[in-house]
Subunit: 195 residues, 2 copies
């Protein structure tokens, strides 16, 4: 029992060390550097995570889980649909604003393609949530093919706009989230009235 706790605690410590190195050296951090940061040697890393892809995937999963929690919290809290959408978008923007290195690692994980699989999973889960919510909100039948497309489009839209905004912050965060909400709401209102 205690041995399992030890393993888990160790794993967490290794992930923390990897996180530190990645945020310092970028995603091209070497396994040896991570091991040195953790005060151990490479084979231990490999015994815990299999290979570099496994380590990066675990690291990415950690961050995407955290982000997804924040987003569903924002999305499922009270308020009108519009408020909830705006709050969710703003939560996402806040995340990438406050931790841009994490965002960079997740979105352009150089030479760590394995880290992109958890990101894909995250995007997929988020899109599924959105698609279900949209279908429910617009009272569309289960087999309507449009909600998944809309969900993917919405996620991609917010991600791309956030990326550009992060590169050159042309306006405040709340202004951007409001603009994006307006944009979405236009399409939503149109679909709702056309329904």
């Amino acid at each position: 029992m205690t041995v399992l706790q030890d393993r888990d605690a160790r794993r967490e410590a290794l992930l923390a060390a990897a996180d530190a190195v990645v945020q310092r050296d970028g995603a091209s951090a070497s396994m040896a550097a991570i091991a040195a940061e953790a005060g151990i040697t490479k084979p231990i890393l490999y015994r815990h995570f299999g290979d570099k892809g496994g380590l990066f995937a675990a690291l990415a999963e950690r961050h995407t889980d955290r982000l997804l929690d924040a987003l569903v919290a924002a999305l499922t809290a009270g308020g009108s649909p519009r408020e909830r959408v705006h709050r969710t978008i703003d939560a996402y923007l806040a995340m990438i604003e406050q931790e841009p290195e994490v965002y960079r690692f997740l979105v352009e994980s150089d030479e760590a393609v394995a880290a992109r699989e958890p990101v894909r999973g995250f995007v997929r889960r988020l899109e599924d949530l959105l698609a279900a919510g949209i279908a429910h909100e617009l009272r569309l039948p289960e087999d309507d093919v449009r909600p998944p497309v809309w969900a993917a489009a919405i996620v991609g839209m917010v991600q791309a706009a956030g990326e550009r905004w992060l590169a050159s912050q042309w306006c405040s965060r709340t202004a951007l989230s409001r603009q994006l909400t307006d944009l979405l709401w236009g399409a939503y209102a149109l679909q709702a009235e056309r329904r």
Copy 2:
């Protein structure tokens, strides 16, 4: 003079060989493999492109230029704004449908971060075009900050939806392009009437 032609022709041949290897082995293709495919050895590659990033950037630039040409052709040809937007989206989807390996190389260039810079440039040029077109179409003042946001959002939306559609083709290409056009047109119409 002829020596310059030779250099250019050689460069093109090398790029073609690199293209073949990348489409066969994925973006993790090694320089030695590319050199072998071209029937030469590594130092020649390095004399032409500097380093691996240079080669991949040249390769990416080639494809993005081609894609941008196709898109501006679709966008600037005749027809109503709605037709032109639909045609452009469809041209993009046709590209990623017919050459998915190229798309994969451009969008998730494993361990070739340098290949992403031309892609960024391409996206930027496309967004600038769109932003200008939107501002002109809606008769917005020059200093309005919203068109760039919208342009980024639109590009991201189409890219994300295209990606998902490519992974699991849930509907025909024309159906998807029409859906995306509808979605955009909803927001556009709203902005236009609210103007």
